[in-house]
Amino acid sequence: MEAEAAKLLGAGFAAIGAGLAALGVGNVFAAFLSGALRNPSAADSQFPRLMIGFAAAELLGLLAFVIAILLVVG
């Protein structure tokens, strides 16, 4: 296999990580929503935590994206 083809394949595999991060982000918001619907009065005070959780989950997806981009153009 040529090195170029292997890089492109690797980039494609790395992009899977972005999809997995999507699961994580969706899970963060789903859990927040179900909690917020049970106790709406406490929801607003937990918004910063929601964003921190979202940021933590999203960072890993963005890392996968960086790997993919580096393999394609780097």
Binding site: I69, L70, V73, G74
Partner: protein
């Protein structure tokens, strides 16, 4: 990725200009202007709080005044009620007394009138006896041609009446 390829050649310029712009932003805008914004915001909150407090105080004063005036009103009403009741009682007593006087007068007049009526009745009854005796004497004279004395006819009427 130009960000990484150009990193070595541009980092000095990026760092220098970012520190300058961020420094101006921090010291020239944030440090200089935000206290003013904060003062305006806090001033408004303080004003709102003070206004609400004074409004609450005014409400309390008004409620107290209302209580006081309500008390006075109740007292005045009770007083007026008492006065009215007393006036009503005296008026009723007055009326009763006057009524009694008038009643007595009327009763006296009625008794007098009754007495007069009884006397008149008795008088007319005796007169009736006389008329009856005369009539009887006239009838007897017409039928028999005998003259009767008034005493005889009166005795006969009395006998018939008995």
């Amino acid at each position: 990725m130009p960000q990484l390829e150009q990193l070595a050649s541009t980092y000095a310029s990026q760092l220098f200009w970012l520190l300058i712009t961020f420094g101006i932003l921090y010291f020239g805008i944030a440090r200089a202007m935000l206290p003013k914004v904060g003062k305006v915001v806090e001033g408004r909150q303080a004003k709102i709080a003070a206004d609400i407090a004074s409004a609450e105080a005014a409400t309390r004063v008004a409620r107290e005044a209302e209580d006081v005036s309500g008390e006075g009103l109740r007292k005045a009403r009770a007083e007026a009620f008492g006065l009215t009741a007393a006036a009503k009682a005296t008026a009723a007593a007055d009326v009763a007394a006057q009524l009694k006087v008038v009643d007595d007068q009327l009763a006296a007049q009625a008794a007098e009138a009754e007495a007069r009526l009884a006397a008149a009745k008795a008088a007319s009854l005796t007169e009736l006896d006389g008329i009856a005796a005369e009539t009887a004497a006239a009838i007897v004279e017409k039928l028999t041609g005998l003259a009767t004395s008034p005493a005889e006819s009166a005795a006969a009427v009395a006998a018939v009446k008995a």
